[in-house]
Symmetry: none
């Protein structure tokens, strides 16, 4: 589920290859994801995106209304993917929720671009109330789901989270983003450490 793209493909190959619009759109989104995660929204020009994707500017505007709209789309995909990933990991864990969490944390390291994109989305939301509204609405879904997952894990150990589960999710997300910002190589380890000690010191359930 890593977003690193193989940008080795040449423009020539691209124009020879039959690219359906869906394919074009997907490639533009991938390129935008990569570029925005690495250079920021303002630091990424539409030229950057289309060059990375192997297209020209016109292709961008055939697929997106304007620069902001690709960020909105990126946000939707990102949040959707986040939620789906969490759901899938829980489902696959077959009841062993701890495994789901382990996998989720492990995936965070592999999805550094996603964390950076999320930071950019958050920053962009400052300057755009409409965008902020969409962002926070989607974020809320994720927050609740993650909160429930964490609460369940606490419960499995017979513990009650020390704070409201949604707030616990906030703390978790904050930690994840802050560590991503530092390119912290030990992010997963740190997160485990924090969660484990929070769990160890949490009050016993009932």
């Amino acid at each position: 589920m890593n977003h690193a793209i193989d940008f080795s493909s040449e423009k020539k190959e691209v124009s020879l290859r039959v690219t359906s619009q869906q394919e074009t759109r997907k490639r533009l989104l991938e390129a935008a994801h990569h570029a925005v995660a690495n250079r920021g929204y303002e630091g990424t020009s539409i030229s950057d995106i289309v060059n990375l994707a192997g297209f020209t500017k016109g292709a961008f505007f055939s697929n997106f209304e304007n620069k902001e709209s690709i960020l909105l789309e990126l946000m939707r995909l990102q949040k959707e993917e986040d939620i789906n990933l969490l759901g899938k990991l829980i489902a696959e864990a077959n009841g062993d929720i701890a495994i789901a969490l382990n996998h989720y944390i492990a995936s965070l390291d592999e999805r550094h671009d996603c964390a950076m994109l999320d930071i950019e989305l958050q920053l962009y939301a400052r300057s755009n109330p409409t965008f902020a509204k969409s962002y926070h609405a989607l974020q809320e879904t994720n927050r609740v789901a993650l909160g429930q997952l964490l609460e369940t894990i606490f419960a499995m150990k017979g513990k009650l989270p020390p704070i409201d589960s949604a707030k616990l999710a906030d703390l978790f997300v904050g930690l994840v983003q802050g560590l991503a910002l530092q390119h912290q190589p030990n992010a997963g380890l740190f997160i485990h450490l924090v969660l484990d000690s929070l769990m160890a010191t949490a009050p016993v359930l009932e």
Copy 2:
């Protein structure tokens, strides 16, 4: 030590007042600090800065070589201030290091602009290796100081940090930045919660 500026001062007053070059420079830096923290580096134009400071573009280029150099200066001041603040709190705590930490955490909420600026500095470092080098060098000093402070606090409770003290500082800083990014109102509380549980579960010293 809050960077909120009083922008109520009128341009007229400014030109009447004799503004030494030092004063001009300081005001430009304050304005830049505020603007960059709130709108990002790319989102802040030199016009924004000089308007906020009550000057014109010429004043900017009389005091700074270019746009990037004001960010470098901002970074130096920011890191210097961070280190000084920590030192001062420790000194003022009169041996009760825990109080120093409490004050430091309490100050984080009041210094949201600083946290946001730090995030911007971190992001800008991505695109500029020279800048990155300066940034990380200064950051390292802070990291070590903070690490030692944390280690001392653990020691006072007879505990050994579960990870290397510098890494503990990384974790701390990551958490602080991540929560700032969210405008998390419970940031201080969350940080205390994490530190307390880490301390509680840490191995006993010796």
Copy 3:
């Protein structure tokens, strides 16, 4: 002979109906006529035209070589129609040429789009000598016909036009276009007023 088009027809109906190429071409021309008359040549995009006509861009380029060529065609049709209208009115007037002129003037109000298109054609001719040549050639035919009509009318009142009949036509056309430009609601009245007073003060024939 008004060019207002019924744009209520839906795209769906269009694609169900078998549209011969002639039909497609005609609809595109009508749409272009309307759009150019109301928004100007530069202000009308090919998208505007095809949307108005219920087609897509491909249809446009299947029927016209480029954007300019539809204007050329529009010009041909416009001038042809002008001439035919004049001829028809004269024929229908059954010898009473004054009635023909009255009808012609009355028709001007109904053909505001045509007058506006003519203005656009005239303006476009500035920037395109080839186009200008075609335009003026066709215009000349009309000018002569109109001049003869006016001369005949003067003659019926026993008068000689105060200026060369072709120039009289220029004056007439100028007045018509200038009033169209203003969306002058009294255009017909003004034209009659001018013609009548010119006729009243014209020298007696022979």
Copy 4:
């Protein structure tokens, strides 16, 4: 009062010459006047204007907020000039109003660019209600002044205008613009012809 500019000056000379901002603004306005009159508003790019004036695009935006605003300014100047010219001619005529009118008509031939600009302004007003409002407000002043002038001239011959004086002005302006559109070399003559015959056939005053 002709707007034809000497564009022979080279860019080099310009940058050597001390150009005050007022001078720059004036040159840009002259260039825009010329370009818009000859190529239309849509057909004139900001590049065209600044090249003609011997500046770069940045100079344009240092002097005008955007492309539309230079047109607004052009309109103000144009209408102001129109009104002033009329006023001046009347004043200079020393009671012989007919001379004022003669001069006014004579000036029309020399101010072809102004007539063409006015046509562009009129056309642009179609697509911009705000602009249209300003335009028509200014136009109204001119219309009334011109109407009174015409009425006075009729009165001097002991005649009453056959239509309301403001409408007479509309007719006059319409004729002027229509003839300008054709680049009619005999415009002045035609206008005199029309006015004279209208006057000759007008009802006697009282």
